[in-house]
């Protein structure tokens, strides 16, 4: 009885704030709403079929390579996750070898403390096409190059955004991996060195395998982050130019609030949920197996 009483508040909280909205969103995705976001009609799977076949902003398979918010999110998943992880790992490994390690790690970590909106505003200035304002273009023109419209060009804007977000997130990967690195016993590494292993061998064969769990943790965090990325895009480019930088979460916002189609927006939300579920399943299984082996 006492046990039930202890968990009752948490269950109530979760029920109200997590389960109920989840179920309602799924229900909403099968409906049509009016301007006041009230359900007025049930449309079955129509929202889903429209989303994947009829919505060029979301997924456009007619052009090659395919475009659309869905495709953009895939770019994010691949580039953001891999680069944030790689950079974080690189910095963690290199920082451990210098005297000013704490200082270096602090600098890399500071962007984590900034909200995504602030990150967007900072980088909006950095990417400004006017070399008198934008630091990146100022640097480029200093070396004789031509100033670019980093977020004005369809072909550059996504990469510009991804890089800004990597800058803000690498600190997390670095901190987790750095702590994990320090957990690796020095004796093992010394032993390897005396056996004649090069630094690269040590990295590849000792450190990397022992880091596999922290890497998985960081990867999961990054993946979840990137599937729901929204604020940096909304503030920096508003989905532009011409919708080239839209992502899934952005579509959800746009359809629900600007268009008043909350049912359609809920459909996008459900798609996001379906994308995240495999990642969460993998995460849970991973932790379970780790617990068992310990």
């Amino acid at each position: 009885m006492q046990g039930l009483l202890f968990i009752a508040p948490a269950v109530l909280f979760l029920g109200l704030l997590l389960i109920y909205p989840l179920v309602y969103t799924i229900v909403l995705s099968f409906a049509d709403t009016n301007a006041k976001l009230e359900i007025v009609d049930w449309v079955g799977f129509e929202n889903y079929t429209n989303l994947f076949t009829n919505d060029k902003e979301f997924l456009d398979l007619d052009s090659f390579p395919p475009t659309g918010a869905f495709v953009n999110n895939l770019k994010w998943v691949v580039l953001y996750t891999s680069l944030s992880l790689a950079l974080g790992l690189l910095i963690a490994v290199l920082a451990a070898r210098v005297r000013y390690e704490a200082f270096l790690k602090a600098i890399v970590f500071i962007p984590m403390a900034i909200s995504a909106t602030a990150v967007a505003i900072i980088w909006k200035f950095v990417y400004d096409p006017d070399p008198d304002i934008g630091s990146l273009n100022a640097l480029i023109t200093l070396f004789g190059g031509e100033a670019q419209a980093w977020y004005g060009r369809e072909d550059l804007v996504n990469y510009a955004l991804i890089w800004a977000y990597i800058w803000a997130s690498t600190g997390f990967a670095m901190v987790v991996l750095s702590a994990a690195l320090k957990g690796i016993s020095e004796e093992v590494i010394e032993a390897a060195r005396t056996d004649g292993a090069s630094e690269w061998d040590i990295f590849r064969r000792i450190q990397l395998p022992l880091l596999s769990l922290p890497i998985a943790v960081v990867t999961v965090w990054l993946l979840i982050n990137v599937i729901k990325v929204f604020d940096i895009i909304y503030v920096l480019t508003g989905g532009g130019p011409g919708g080239a930088s839209e992502v899934i979460a952005f579509s959800m916002y746009d359809e629900t609030f600007t268009n008043g189609e909350a049912g359609y927006g809920a459909t996008v939300a459900v798609v996001m949920l379906l994308l995240i579920i495999p990642i969460m399943a993998f995460n849970i299984r991973r932790f379970r197996s780790e617990r068992v082996t310990q």
Partner: protein, 431 residues
């Protein structure tokens, strides 16, 4: 183990707070007001201050207090508040498209239901303005302010130095553009970035379209009767691309797509100018002078009406306006809407220099400077008037029209397929 009691206790306390805070409210619906009216719009900065002067006058005359709120993401906030049953009592809707959409779903209170004399109110306005606030023959609001968008901003001193005369026709404008280029000057600054400034391109298109295709086609196009991949649309786009291209615009098309409209204005009229002219609505003057107070209307900043293109379609005015509408039915709201429709309110408002009033009862001398007066004259004396097209489109179609034009100036060779795609979306939205 013993310490753990405070965790569930804290959670319970937090829950109680949360549940208490989300209690609903009555949301009005009674006939008597409570002595205060909440108003919601997307105006901030100087526009907000100007409007607040009008509200202060209202409070002085009627004793009803007002509470003003603003949000940039106007429509999302309105939708969620309506859904929660907690809308603001009065909303200033920036597009007639919203009036139709909200009225259709019965979110707005017709003026008659508020107990107002619709005929008396409509006496103050011309027909086109009344239409904006009407849906299916019922009046839902009061047109609060108006703007001319058929204005091209330039520097009179620069024209004088170069021996240019104010152009009346498109060909004359083209000559000036070529002259500027031959002297190494950049003719235009365009700010069409992202979601917030893409509408500047729709303004370009609308001015050109109505002068090449005529008022009737304009009406049909923006009400869904004429398809967007029609030949008249392509013709207007071709003409638009004669000016909005890599040769004539500051930093080319890419530059235009990275610049907000405010920044584009400062690129022409700021302290470090990089371009000569700017095609945008009457409010440009206010923004330019706000950014660079040294500007002298008539000398270093002025506008000329958008030139004619095809003689038979003459010099029509394309403009915009905001509609004040009621979400809640009570006496205070009715009094506020009535007040906003009077020439007195219009006078106070225009004296701030922030707006042009479509109210017939507002005299010219109420305007504080020449630029606004000139715009007011343009509005009042227009041969014919049309509302900004993209603002008439429903749902996201208006926003997407700006996106479409962004894509077109980037990929002028793909005009046909881009228009076909947009037309498909339009057909769905209009059905």
């Amino acid at each position: 183990m013993k310490r753990r009691w405070f965790i569930p206790a804290a959670v319970l306390a937090a829950m109680a707070l949360a549940l208490g805070a989300c209690g609903g409210d009555d949301g009005g619906g009674t006939e008597e007001g409570d002595g205060e009216v909440t108003i919601f719009s997307l105006w901030t900065g100087s526009e907000e201050e100007a409007f607040k002067k009008v509200l202060t006058q209202f409070t002085e005359e009627t004793g009803i207090r007002t509470k003003y709120e603003a949000a940039r993401d106007f429509l999302p906030v309105i939708r969620t508040r309506l859904n929660a049953g907690n809308p603001p009592e009065v909303g200033i809707l920036p597009r007639p498209g919203f009036v139709d959409e909200l009225a259709r779903d019965e979110a707005l209170i017709p003026l008659e239901d508020l107990g107002l004399d619709v005929d008396a109110i409509n006496e103050n306005y011309g027909d086109t303005w009344i239409d904006l606030a009407t849906f299916e023959d019922t009046a839902y609001g009061v047109v609060a302010k108006a703007n001319s968008k058929s204005t091209v901003w330039y520097k009179p001193n620069s024209f004088q130095q170069n021996g240019f005369e104010v152009p009346q026709t498109w060909d004359q404008l083209e000559q000036i553009v070529q002259s500027y280029k031959s002297k190494g000057e950049v003719p235009w600054a365009v700010g069409a970035q992202g979601r917030d400034s893409s509408w500047t391109l729709t303004d370009w298109f609308e001015q050109i379209y109505i002068r090449t295709a005529g008022g009737d086609n304009y009406d049909k196009l923006f009400s869904g009767e004429l398809p967007f991949n029609d030949a008249t649309v392509k013709e207007a786009l071709e003409i638009m691309l004669q000016q909005v291209n890599n040769e004539n615009v500051l930093n080319g098309v890419d530059g235009a797509l990275s610049l907000s409209f405010q920044d584009a204005i400062t690129r022409v009229f700021g302290t470090n100018p990089q371009a000569e002219m700017h095609m945008l609505g009457g409010f440009t003057g206010g923004i330019a002078i706000g950014a660079n107070p040294d500007l002298k209307p008539g000398e270093t900043i002025d506008f000329f009406p958008f030139p004619t293109i095809k003689e038979e379609h003459g010099d029509p005015l394309v403009g915009s306006g905001d509609v004040a509408a009621a979400f809640v039915n009570n006496e205070d709201v009715a009094e506020l809407l009535e007040f906003l429709s009077t020439p007195e309110a219009g006078r106070t408002w225009v004296s701030t220099g922030a707006i042009v009033s479509p109210n017939k009862g507002v005299p010219d001398d109420a305007y504080p400077n020449d630029l606004v007066r000139k715009e007011a004259d343009q509005v009042k004396n227009a041969e014919s008037f049309r509302f900004d097209g993209s603002d008439l489109l429903p749902g996201t179609l208006g926003q997407d029209f700006g996106t479409l034009l962004q894509n077109i100036i980037k990929n002028p060779n793909n005009v046909d397929s881009l228009l076909d795609d947009y037309q498909a979306e339009a057909e769905q939205a209009f059905s």
